[in-house]
Amino acid sequence: MTHPGGDAHAHGALSAEPAAPIIAEIANAQQTERWRRRLIFIGVWVVLVGGLGLFLWNAGRVEWEFITRSGPYILQGAGITVLVSVLSILLATTLAVIGALGRLSTNPVIYAIASLYVSIVRGTPLLVQIFFAYYALPQAGIVLDPIPTGILALGFNYGAYMTEIFRAGLQAVAGGQREAAQALGMREAHIFRRIVLPQAIRIVTPAIGNEFIAMIKDSSLVSIITVQELLWRAQRVGRSEFQTIPAILIAALAYWVLTILFSIFQERLERRMARGDR
């Protein structure tokens, strides 16, 4: 037996000859093994999801007619879900940058304010905060539609959690970067905006992706304040027609698909960022 790809001169013409077919054979076997694993993976998922679906179909006395009629109505809520999630994460990111600056500030007043924000928001339930925004803001004379109210509440909540993510990200930028910028005579604001922040954003991008996936699911909480997103619509039609199980399942499936789609996008984004290494 020769080494695959071994030196033909070392082994002589006879023993070198079989090397090429063996390499192809090994590659083939590896490829087959990869496909086998992939098919098993898909098979397990199909069996489990199918079995669970069949069970629920029977247990819930699902009517196909209901799905075709109300399914599209529920799924239209996906647009609102995505809209609320995207705007909330944008608000949260903005708050997080400001919050992180506050948490890193040497000014004791600013530090105290930023810390209070993080402490209160992380110390109370998101659902309570959503209720509070919905009922308390109008009392303060700020009357907003449910959607902006929900975005404010979700953004404020996630902003506090992401403050800590950004603080860690800013601290993770190598100290030498600051020193190099200082040595070039840059002012503090310039250093932050042009040198530290862009690098911190690269560092926290995967974490923000995770927060966004969580946000897609937590956005269902604003159904409680009549935002007509996936869950609100599912509850509405499900309850009125005694088809709660299929209605909720349609919504759940939609959330699942949304998170899978975003995960794929996130994976690609991270791979692209890693490729340029910049």
Binding site: A174, E179, A180, L184, M186, R194, R278
Partner: protein, 284 residues
């Protein structure tokens, strides 16, 4: 790589005396004093790292600081542009005199003075510290554009000139991750030169490099020294000091023990500590 050292017949004329009692005949190519430290002390907690450093560096002079690790040479360099605030003493660079003010180090006025000081003194780091999210050219024009308010076109022209000087013009659009260590340090030198500082401070610029990459960086530095760039270099490269230095400063325990022309300090040291250090260094 090694152009011949400045003619030794130049090594006569001007005589200078500093507070530390350093006296020698200065080479005629040097000009007025451009960097001066007076009584620099630095404590890290209880640790007395610098114990009163008086150093004068003249225009177009290349000064190499040697000494064992922990002797305070890097701290001294960092004190000159206030990356470390000295605990006491004065620093003067190109006419700007600044008193160490550790208690009010963060005050706005002091910080602005420090910034002005840094515009006069470019700094090179062991770890290069290029900005990884910017191309080589962007690294070079960021500060000229936004600190010196140069137009993008003007800054780019200057940057291309200095990239030519360090031999990296073909890498101008590469990102630092794609450069070798030696190329990174040369890009960092170009970035510093783009600010046209009065003096360049090198903090062990080749310590983080693979041995085969050290030469290209030292070559660029030697060219700069011979073309009259004022520089203060903390280094362990004795051969380089011998070739490129106008003056070698030996530090130990936070003090300048001995200084003079390289042939004297390195070949015929007057102090026992220097002899001891050099012997141990050569033994390695």
């Amino acid at each position: 790589m090694t152009t011949s050292r400045r003619d030794s017949s130049e090594l006569e004329g001007l005589s200078a005396s500093t507070a530390s009692g350093y006296e020698q005949t200065l080479p005629t190519h040097v000009g007025d004093v451009i960097v001066r430290t007076e009584g620099i002390h630095k404590y890290f907690g209880e640790n007395h790292v610098l114990r009163g450093i008086d150093l004068e560096v003249r225009q177009r002079e290349a000064v190499m600081i040697i000494g064992r690790s922990g002797s305070g040479k890097t701290t001294l360099l960092r004190c000159i542009n206030f990356l470390e605030e000295p605990s006491a003493g004065w620093v003067e660079v190109d006419g700007l005199r600044l008193k160490a003010d550790p208690l009010r180090a963060r005050s706005r006025g002091h910080q602005e003075q420090i910034r002005q000081m840094r515009l006069r003194a470019g700094m090179l780091f062991q770890e290069f510290n290029l900005f990884p999210h910017m191309s080589v050219l962007e690294n070079c024009i960021e500060a000229p554009q936004r600190v010196l308010r140069q137009s993008r076109q003007h800054a780019t022209t200057r940057a291309e000139y200095y990239l030519e000087v360090v031999g990296l013009i073909d890498k101008r659009d590469e990102y630092p991750a794609r450069l070798s260590g030696g190329q990174k340090q040369r890009a960092a030198i170009a970035r510093a030169l783009c600010m046209e500082p009065k003096v360049l401070l090198f903090d062990e610029p080749t310590s983080a490099l693979d041995p085969e990459l050290i030469g290209e960086v030292l070559g660029v530095m030697e060219d700069l020294a011979h073309s009259g760039t004022t520089m203060i270099v903390v280094t362990h490269e004795m051969h380089f000091a011998q070739e490129a230095a106008d003056r070698v400063v030996f530090m130990e325990n936070g003090l300048i023990v001995e200084q003079g022309p390289p042939e004297q300090v390195l070949n015929d040291p007057r102090h026992e500590e220097t002899t001891h250090f050099l012997r141990r260094f050569l033994d390695r």
